[in-house]
Symmetry: C2
Subunit: 362 residues, 2 copies
Amino acid sequence: MKKHNYSAGPCILPQEVFEKSAQAILNYNNSGLSILEISHRSKDFVAIMEEARALVLELLGLTGKGYQALFLHGGASLEFLMVPYNLMRENGKAAYLDTGTWAAGAIKEAKAFGETVVVGSSKSENYTHIPKGFEIPADADYFHCTSNNTIFGTQMKSFPGTDIPVVCDMSSDIFSRQLDFTSFDLIYAGAQKNMGPAGATLVVVKEEILGKNGRTIPGMLSYAAHIEKESMYNTPPVFAIYASLLTLQWLKNLGGIPAIEKINNAKAELLYAEIDRNPYFRGTANKEDRSVMNATFLLNDEAQAPIFDEMWKAAGISGIPGHRSVGGYRASMYNALPLESVQVLVNVMKAFENKVSGMATA
Amino acid sequence: MKKHNYSAGPCILPQEVFEKSAQAILNYNNSGLSILEISHRSKDFVAIMEEARALVLELLGLTGKGYQALFLHGGASLEFLMVPYNLMRENGKAAYLDTGTWAAGAIKEAKAFGETVVVGSSKSENYTHIPKGFEIPADADYFHCTSNNTIFGTQMKSFPGTDIPVVCDMSSDIFSRQLDFTSFDLIYAGAQKNMGPAGATLVVVKEEILGKNGRTIPGMLSYAAHIEKESMYNTPPVFAIYASLLTLQWLKNLGGIPAIEKINNAKAELLYAEIDRNPYFRGTANKEDRSVMNATFLLNDEAQAPIFDEMWKAAGISGIPGHRSVGGYRASMYNALPLESVQVLVNVMKAFENKVSGMATA
């Protein structure tokens, strides 16, 4: 039985991506070769890389606007290091918004490069909300934020206007909602949520911000070097990029970001309505900052967890236990999760309510 | 028709790896989930990672000898940077042997960290041989070499004895031949030759050499940090590691490195014998340094290339054109390439000889 996969990442991808990528492993494009055994310099793979890079810009509305899309190694965690290496001047400073575990990880790496100003933080409230009303120093080299906080179920609904470059870690909500992507100068994202399998990292960068900080940057950590080599500075993660291309093609065929945004909003509204209605559950994030991607919620009576857990498992749901930092449950509703899977979860929550209310009155 | 795939990397893998990994993408281990959509923290993937790490040490004869195996992001090119970051002291120095393009790449990155002594180089002879008789400074922090030079078709047959840590880039011949692996302190290898698909990097490190150089190392670049997190400092390249495990299991079932070494030697002997016998071809590397993995050879008369090219293509051979630095042909005979494929190539070379000698006398 196919599962209702709520995993926070790596996560569900479209079924057609599984089918097409499995076929490509057996015989890519009728070439008599597996996608796993072709050279990254082959015509077949160069075409995959070019289409993937172009499609990223097209879906984000950034074609012809001075941006480059790169598919790199290392995950967002390597970007935590590459961002200051490429953008912070020697003795410069950068502004960071601290909205969760990954934002804090980015801040930690930046500190080794220079003054790292934390302009706002919700850490003392266990990151239940997005800080607001913060000020960004005008002389910082860039401002860094995390658009969606997977662990804590919060999401930035707006982004500050500033004259300095804006850098955003969109690992867990890229391609999920319409934004003015031209207001960002550098976007990065681990592939393993809305874009593809683990093992590739997307970087979208406005070229004009590069080459200005005066540092000597090691080749593998230099965005300019990766751009010069057309995202093939070294052997790229071929399969992860191919599966990402398939996912991006699926999104384009669906109608792109405007179409998936409607579906994502419908899924989130359905689940949050039940969390708010059902007297046995409560959400953990401030309502105005709730993530459309990751809904975090708790049982009011944790002693009832074994009953609820048995029920969602029986319904074919997987990947729903919450992160240890929050506890309870986390329903990750990435692009490829169908509305039907959310309905199954909501039905289980209602059935749980009926069961435990019956037990209470029995 | 299945091809005789001589690609230099990414390269041929065992057919059962293609079949099992395609199945795992559709339904991993009958879980109802694709290997691409499971969490790296799931029991299923933790078991894959643990088995892969243990099997690497077992195959290399390093179990229980103070080594750790890690599966990282970034390819060998990121290791060029990580090695000096982790092993070279501030104001320290390191010794490097320059045997080819990738060795030179490692040297370039090391220079940003401190004094980088090139103890030997065959660059002026276009890397046709492995330098010998060089001396390693006793006060260097480590000695770095490249065991096999994919582009130039040379391979180190012995390694210098030294009291300082020995670091070896084995990207293109790891798991292909028996060596005393305990004589190395750090071995690294991009997966995409003998170990698996592109997108994972193997590091095998003797723990006692770490933590001694006094540098503050960014988390993602610190071997100690990766060891502490059991190779899950961040989301690992799940699929590339799984396919690597399948390849390592195939090798173990075959009889491990001793068994594959015999097959690899038979393949290389068959092809080099033909290169030396056939009057229309010549090898490019010094005979004593010839690589068992990559045989580089030229036509004596390049004008005959269109004839030869048509013949090997018709025989179902792919990936055999040489790198632009050497020209001619490069037959990469990695572990998964069957002896039968080498026989097909040798037959084509003999048929070519018959054809062009007939043309000359006609």
